[in-house]
């Protein structure tokens, strides 16, 4: 599998480390409802198809990326820096 890093270009996925589902939104600080935290930490959509996920380019620029990848085919699409994805 190949992943396009926005800074380094197309590389083997072995240069990257998977970092989980990027569509999850961390509950606000001070959230007291334990169910909210449980769902955030433990539950996954785990779709068979398009998936937005974090990867870190550990053997490259070491930046965290948000990658669009299809889990049914492993075809990966657009990636952007996670910092951009968060501030956008």
């Amino acid at each position: 599998m190949r992943i396009v890093c926005p800074l380094c270009g197309e590389r083997s996925h072995t240069e990257f480390r998977y970092g989980g589902d990027a569509t999850k939104k961390r509950p606000a600080h001070g959230t007291e409802d334990r169910q909210v935290w449980h769902d955030h930490v433990f539950l996954f959509d785990n779709p068979k198809g398009p998936h937005r996920e974090y990867w870190q380019h550990v053997l490259g620029c070491r930046q965290w990326l948000v990658l669009e990848r299809n889990t049914a085919t492993n075809v990966s699409g657009e990636s952007r820096l996670a910092t951009d994805a968060v501030t956008r």
Partner: protein, 418 residues
């Protein structure tokens, strides 16, 4: 219905021209069943068998998307063992081991259990201490375990790398003699045949596309072969548990990951045991056909592709050669990938769900195959009584809320690191 296999039936068939009957019936789906089990793998078929054999429920359908044996029951390294650490896991997998020991007789089908012994290696004194603790826990639970020092391992496994150049020196190991291998296809076929002969309808080429739900209760399933009403419905589709659960509006603590396994070209008898490397996740045994069967860690990111990445092939081959240098020139003959449910604590689910009359068997991580008989036994109990079996109470969907995780390898809350 198939007749009973015996020396007599073998002789009778040898003398007659009549072909052997099919091992299981291929009925058309009925419009309604007492229990519908989604997934015709080892777990689904075992559940159907034990529902019929232990609980007297005979009006059962097992729905299989492809064909019996096409999923993970045929995509593993066929190992069975019961060397766990945490209460819950220890007792459950030992129960499974005991069911394995009688399974060929129970099913009247030779599943070729070979209790050749499994040795987990230690590559340092600290690791040997950890194995000693594990062995003590096993023995306290009446499970066989023997701690081996370096000399004892050398005697049993003379072909490992004991040289001073070995990347991971071998300090000892933990042996479970009752552990071993089972022919995995035979497990699927044996349960299918035994369940079918008790009246269970096994319906292949029948994919579930949705659930009928009214007032928080599952009343049936929609399939590619028409709707089927169900008194109770069980999901046993590990690898695709999230996919099925999503059709019922449920989210699970599961991510789907890919695990590869490999078979080398056949060689003469060489590896007499199951060996687990201690420096990396790697395990090896030799099949009856002579191929070395081995596997490693998951690929590391979620995937439903059933097609592995080359990087893992390389890592696993490196482990193999680091442990047994003499196999460095063996060629890989076959290689496959299976999709497994990975959970945040590495332990499975056999339980009720938030929807009434819907039950779940999933989240099996690396341990689905060895759990097959016990999982079927416990899920059958759960479905029949609408209550978890005492041995699988620890495998509820609510265990994360309760702080009752079962993280046997103490890895932490990452599905892709379990």
């Amino acid at each position: 219905m198939s007749d009973r296999y015996s020396a007599l039936s073998l002789a009778r068939h040898a003398l007659s021209d009549a072909p052997w009957p099919r091992a299981w019936r291929t009925p058309e789906p009925k419009s309604s069943y007492d229990v519908v089990i989604i997934g015709g793998g080892g777990h689904g078929l075992a559940t159907a068998y034990y529902l019929a054999a232990n609980h007297g429920i005979k009006n059962i359908a097992v729905l299989e998307r492809a064909y019996v044996g096409s999923g993970n029951v045929g995509r593993n390294t066929t190992l069975v063992r019961s060397n766990y650490v945490l209460d819950g896991n220890t007792q459950f997998f030992e129960f499974s081991m005991k069911l394995w020991e009688g399974l060929s007789h129970t099913l009247n089908f030779n599943v070729m259990l070979s209790q050749r012994g499994q040795i987990v290696l230690a590559h340092g004194p600290v690791q040997l201490d950890v194995l000693a603790r594990k062995g003590n826990i096993m023995r306290l639970n009446s499970i066989d375990a023997e701690l081996l020092d370096r000399d004892a391992v050398m005697k049993l496994l003379p072909y490992l790398d004991y040289s001073t150049e070995a990347r991971f020196p071998i300090d000892g190991g933990l042996l479970q003699r009752r552990a071993g291998t089972v022919r995995h296809d035979a497990v699927a076929w044996g349960y299918a045949r035994a369940a079918s002969s008790l009246g269970v309808d096994i319906i292949e080429q029948c994919e579930v596309t949705g659930f009928e739900i009214s007032q928080g209760q599952v009343t049936g399933v929609r399939t590619t072969r028409g709707p089927i009403l169900a008194g109770r419905t069980a999901i046993a589709v590990a690898g695709h548990s999230s996919h099925l659960a999503a059709m019922a509006g449920l989210r699970l603590p599961v991510e789907s990951h890919l695990l590869q396994a490999f078979v080398s070209e056949p060689i003469k008898p060489f590896v007499d045991h199951v060996i687990s490397f201690g420096a990396e996740l790697f395990y090896i045994s030799q099949s009856d056909k002579g191929g070395l069967v081995f596997g490693g860690h998951i690929d590391g990111f979620n995937s439903y592709t059933q097609r592995g990445q080359f990087a893992k092939v390389q890592t696993v081959a490196e482990c193999a050669v680091a442990l047994i240098p003499s196999i460095s020139r063996l060629r890989l003959l076959r290689h496959w990938g299976g999709i497994q449910d990975m959970t945040p604590d590495g332990s499975p689910f056999i339980c009720r769900t938030p929807l009434r009359n819907l039950y779940l068997d999933g989240g099996w991580c690396y341990q689905g195959f060895k759990a097959t008989p016990a999982a079927g036994w416990c899920l059958a109990h759960t479905v029949a009584n609408d209550e978890e079996h005492p041995l699988s109470r620890c495998y509820g969907l609510d265990r994360f809320e309760r702080g009752a995780e079962l993280d046997d390898y103490a890895i932490g809350n990452w599905t892709y690191k379990q």
